[in-house]
């Protein structure tokens, strides 16, 4: 089966105006503008098969959203090839747009002043969904996303998490084979994030949809995607299973503590590398394999009010990946 999404040395360069400060600079920018190149995406290459859930991971400004927009047909590449569902996204018409769904985390398509079901009906008309298909799909989405009584409330009365769930439902009524999600869990509380991740997995299992999501949350990846593309400064640093990457690169885990009582820095240092210590909060870094055991010892020996084991922040993993020069396919 041919891949659902193909990117071949995909690049995007923006030309940004250079402006010197001061009045003279302003005048020059107006009369004789100078530009510099910003290489947002550099020769990114990957293939995604139908039915995969892939996460695009990277810090802000890494080029994730720009790549996603090229796949969705909103931007055209400066060089390289891209194919989605057999189409070249840029310049493709309705036939292509019916095959995809684009959900942007910070901008919604739901009509703000009306209940979500009005937007659903609108999408039904836009995508020419037949009545029985519409009813069946809506019922399924309502069940999977637990939308229930949200449908009749105006969107502005919904919480951020509820809105996102309705956003997803609206985007999937036409059952596209390809989903592009840009930061879908941004700003949501933990329950809502988990609900959305659960939903995406179930949806993919049922319908074989290909899902590409961008995120800067590690949990999106660990819970959802088996495959991760790490992008930083426009370049693809890693393409493969996350577990392998973390296991190889992130050799440590962070133990975040909230202490109930006074403790000396030395006492903490006995358990691991003290990264931060400002009472009552402390952060220790310990080797990955020892994290669980060390936590147990900490709980037994010190007055700990709260303890959590975290992966190192994604920026650290990426810095490490960059520093170690991880090859693209592993």
């Amino acid at each position: 089966m041919p891949p659902a999404i193909t990117a071949d040395r995909l690049s995007k360069t923006f030309q940004v105006k250079v402006r010197d400060p001061g009045l003279r600079g302003a005048l020059q920018a107006l009369l004789k503008p100078r530009y510099r190149d910003v290489h947002a995406v550099r020769e990114v290459t990957f293939n995604i098969d139908p039915g995969e859930i892939v996460a695009f991971l990277g810090p802000n400004g890494a080029g994730k959203t720009t790549t996603l927009k090229m796949l969705a047909g909103l931007l055209y590449p400066t060089s390289g090839r891209v194919a989605v569902a057999g189409f070249t996204p840029w310049g493709s018409g309705s036939e292509f747009k019916r095959r995809i769904a684009l959900v942007l985390g910070n901008r919604q398509q739901l009509v703000w002043d009306l209940p979500p079901e009005e937007t659903f009906q609108l999408n039904r008309a836009i995508y020419d969904i037949a009545e029985p298909d519409y009813r069946e799909r809506l019922a399924e989405l309502v069940a999977l996303l637990e939308l229930g009584d949200l449908l009749a409330k105006p969107v502005r009365q919904l919480s951020l998490g509820e809105r996102m769930k309705c956003e997803l439902a609206a985007a999937l009524l036409h059952r596209p084979p390809i989903l592009f999600l840009d930061e879908p869990t941004l700003g949501l509380d933990v329950t809502a994030q988990e609900a959305i991740r659960r939903f995406l997995t179930q949806y993919r299992d049922r319908h074989g949809a290909t899902v590409l999501l961008t995120s800067h949350y590690m949990q999106d990846v660990t819970a959802l995607a088996t495959r991760v593309l790490i992008i930083n400064r426009g370049q693809l640093l890693y393409d493969g299973a996350l577990a392998a990457l973390v296991a190889r690169i992130a050799r440590t885990k962070r133990i975040e503590l909230v202490l109930a009582d006074g403790v000396t820095a030395d006492a903490l240092a006995a358990f691991g590398d003290v990264k931060e210590f400002r009472f009552p909060n402390a952060v220790l870094e310990v080797p990955r394999e020892e994290a669980a055991a060390t936590s147990a010892r900490l709980l037994a020996a010190l007055p700990v009010a709260d303890l959590s084991i975290e992966d190192p922040p994604i920026e650290d993993v990426i810095r490490l990946a960059f520093a170690h020069g991880v090859a693209e396919d592993d």
Partner: protein, 269 residues
């Protein structure tokens, strides 16, 4: 499913949504309507004072009253605010999801126009009917042929003003001052489209210049049709002008859209 039925379904859904949203904002809409009415009302007040018991270039007080009431109605039926919407969409990143779905964003704008105008024109019509009961000067002849012609002229004017507004809004692909350009256009149209005074009252040089532009076909021509001031040759010339300028603005829209989309694809939004 036939294409016509599909499009009918789409427009029905779009208009329904726009109508429901307007329903939520009906109080705000009444205020916008009030503001839209005060400009012609004040102009009428001044011409009323100037005309006194006599005439100004063939317009007596009653003629002015009829002209400005007709103007209020035609303006509400033809006005387009899409440049502000588009400017907002482009700058706030709300064009992205619209471009990713199989519906040209202009259809949403057209449907919104239809819903809004149906609501507000209805209001003005009611007010006009009530006023004409007590004030015979503003009553209109009821010849059905005349009404049909007026409806056609209003439709053409509304279409042209839509394309002017939409095209100007598309300039937001290139500049942050798209709305300023629209305001410039509105400032010029105050004179050349007859919002300040019937075109016959303008200095002859200005009126001739106006006749060479699209401005009279936005308002003055449909208004004069409605009040019965326009005669046979003027009517034919009027419709010819409307069709020609509508064509020009559709072409301008098409050019701006294709170029603008390409630029959007280059620099994003």
């Amino acid at each position: 499913m036939s294409r016509v039925a599909e499009w009918g379904r789409r427009y029905a859904a779009l208009i329904r949504n726009a109508w429901l949203v307007d329903l939520q904002y009906r109080a705000s809409i009444v205020l916008w309507l009030l503001w839209g009415v005060t400009e012609p009302a004040v102009a009428l007040g001044i011409w009323w004072a100037i005309a006194g018991d006599g005439q100004v270039a063939g317009y007596a007080r009653a003629d002015f009253a009829r002209y400005f009431f007709a103007l209020m109605l035609v303006n509400q039926l033809t006005i387009a605010w899409d440049s502000w919407y588009l400017d907002g969409w482009i700058r706030e990143g709300e064009l992205n999801f619209r471009l990713a779905r199989p519906l040209h964003p202009a259809h949403e704008a057209v449907a919104e126009n239809i819903a809004y105008k149906a609501r507000t024109a209805g209001m003005i019509l009611v007010v006009w009917l009530v006023v004409s009961l007590v004030w015979p000067a503003v009553r209109l002849p009821l010849a059905p042929g005349r009404w049909a012609l007026t409806a056609a002229a209003v439709l053409l004017a509304a279409a042209m003003r839509f394309f002017i507004s939409f095209t100007t809004g598309l300039l937001a692909f290139w500049t942050t001052r798209a709305t300023a350009i629209m305001e410039l256009h509105a400032g010029v149209s105050l004179f050349l489209s007859g919002r300040l005074a019937p075109l016959a009252l303008l200095p002859p040089a200005v009126a001739s210049a106006a006749a060479l532009s699209w401005f009279p076909y936005m308002l003055a021509f449909p208004v004069e049709l409605l009040t019965g001031a326009a005669q046979s040759t003027a009517i034919v010339k009027g419709f010819a002008g409307q069709l020609a300028w509508l064509g020009v603005w559709i072409a301008a829209y098409h050019l701006t859209w294709t170029r603008g989309l390409r630029r959007y694809g280059a620099v994003g939004g």
